[in-house]
């Protein structure tokens, strides 16, 4: 079992896969409890709520309390999944996540939806582009971003099995289904080479994985062989897979729907400087807030495109040759 990319035309939001899997898990594991903060329709915890009303707690518009209560539930042996928009579950509740959840090593799963620019029309106040940075900096925290519905489903199951705090970032918008459950294996902490290549390594997560794959095709048509790696666990980082890819290709591009500061680009950049210095280009939001617009338009407006990834790849290759 590896990580084959299957070309499917289907588009499903990762939050939808999460919501459905959570409802399945509810049947299998009676310790699973779910909390939401007045967004169960949006986060898709509504499916679990409907089937298991006794194990579902709507905390109202009170994200800090939701995370604190989740920590308390975890202390009694429950496995709480707490959902809201990523802005509020991570940003609003940060210090509760840090002290009540992580410092206590309580088994809370923060599964937050509507992350990044692809929230769309709600605009800058709702488009969190800092969540990866603020979550990955907390000790004990695991950070996961599924690239598609298949990975979201498998990751939801995996984190239910794993003991410890997890932040899982999910999206609002529909994204292409890239993987087939039958030949995709999700393991926490494992990055997957989903297209092998020799000239440049492209590391991506979330919605940017499909863009990285499209960029790989552009590069291929120009005679450049790019390796695409899906880094769906941002923390702990799969150093082996990442470093062996860079050792092979000699340069890297990171792609993320996140601010340029504190995300995967910084994580891989630091790893490379310590272990295997090589040229790196980072595709990310250039330290600006988002705004209202359609999800796809926004990705283009902020430069998160296959064309820019391909361009960055060529620049990285050029630097390597100097």
């Amino acid at each position: 079992m590896g990580a084959t990319v299957t070309e499917k035309k289907e588009m499903i939001a990762t939050r939808v896969a999460y919501g459905k899997t959570l409802a399945e898990l509810g049947k299998e594991n009676l310790n699973i409890v779910v909390l939401d903060a007045d967004l169960s329709g949006s986060t898709q915890t509504k499916f679990f709520a409907k089937e298991f009303p006794d194990r579902f707690f709507n905390m109202g518009i009170a994200e800090q309390n939701m995370i604190g209560v989740a920590a308390g539930l975890a202390s009694t042996g429950k496995i709480p999944f707490a959902s809201s928009f990523a802005m509020f579950a991570t940003g609003r509740a940060w210090e509760i996540v840090r002290n009540s959840v992580c410092h206590n090593m309580f088994n809370v799963k923060i599964c937050a939806t509507h992350a990044g620019l692809t929230v769309g029309e709600d605009g800058g106040s709702h488009q969190i582009i800092e969540d990866i940075a603020i979550m990955r900096t907390i000790p004990n925290m695991t950070v996961i971003v599924p690239a598609d519905a298949t990975e979201a489903k498998l990751a939801t199951r995996a984190i239910a099995e794993y003991f410890g705090p997890v932040y899982m970032r999910l999206g609002r918008s529909n994204v292409p289904v890239l993987f087939d459950e039958k030949d995709y294996e999700f393991k926490i902490g494992k990055a997957h080479v989903i297209k092998p290549g020799i000239d440049v390594s492209i590391f991506a997560y979330g919605v940017m994985v499909s863009r990285a794959l499209w960029a790989q095709e552009i590069l291929k048509s120009e005679g450049i062989s790019a390796e695409v790696v899906n880094v769906s666990t941002i923390k702990p980082l799969d150093k082996n897979t990442i470093l062996s890819s860079i050792k092979k290709t000699g340069c890297a591009v990171t792609c993320e729907e996140h601010n340029i500061h504190g995300g995967l680009g910084d994580a891989i950049g630091a790893l490379m400087s310590e272990e295997n210095p090589a040229p790196l280009k980072r595709i990310a939001i250039q330290d600006q807030f988002g705004q209202s617009g359609k999800a796809d338009e926004l990705l283009i407006h902020y430069g998160l495109t296959k064309e820019n990834i391909a361009l960055a790849a060529k620049e990285a290759i050029k630097k390597k040759m100097k």
């Binding site: 939401d36 007045d38 967004l39 169960s40 329709g41 949006s42 709507n58 905390m59 109202g60 518009i61 009170a62 800090q64 309390n65 802005m87 509020f88 940003g91 609003r92 769309g120 029309e121 709600d122 605009g123 800058g124 106040s125 709702h126 705004q291 209202s292 617009g293 359609k294 338009e297 926004l298 407006h301």
Partner: protein, 279 residues
Amino acid sequence: MPLSDEKLNELKLVCKDLRKSILKMAHAANSGHPGGSLSATEILTVLYFAIMKYDPHNPNWHERDRLVISKGHATPLVYSILAKAGYYKGDDLLTFRRLGSPYQGHIDRLKAPGIEASTGSLGHGSSLAVGMALGSRLDKLNNRVYLLNSDGELQEGSTWEAIMSASHYRLGNLTAIVDRNRIQLDGWTEETMTLEPINKKYEAFGWHVQEIDGHDMNQIYNAILKTHEIGIKEHKPCVIIAHTVKGKGVSFMEDEVKWHGVAPNDEELAKALAEVEKE
């Protein structure tokens, strides 16, 4: 003292225009928040056109009254009323929620004039208003700070931290109005997370409390004037719990959870506009 008949009629026409604009904006954007815009229409109309001192040509006039809209999703209403108040022409309101538009999904003070503070994340506005009230007092200004809260955001702990601090600092220059439409996003407030008794909670936190019909503009007007009086006399922050109907003015939107954050389609828009027109 009631509003004159003439004034009241003028305000009613304003509300009618605002409701039409709210519906058209949500329709054009195919998203947005009509329900909580329609419920607060009379409240903001009275504030902007019968109470507040402001200068649309000089939005940063230091002595202006300040209004913090803590329910920052009520953008169709806020952007429509700012146009009516003369901050901008508003002939481009239908670009609402599109890329590059000044009219963002949640109010953004850096993109359109007349907005005191960008909000959208619930439970921020009350603290901002307390800060503005303290600042106004330090500057010995004769102005007032108004605060529009949703009922749902009274579930946020941050809101109560602000409420506690307002009475501690004896902010008689602060008037809060709660749009008590009883509906939040997932459902009725009392089913999602009990808020009642709201009046006793505010009282226990040291506030002066009034309860009114939030669609009766005379009641709104008089209640606000009363807060000015109490504020000066008792140095207490004042809250008006305005009982409203979410989706007010459009029969099929009224008291319907669904219309919190859904836009009307062509047919629904036509029906809704006809109803508002007939009112």
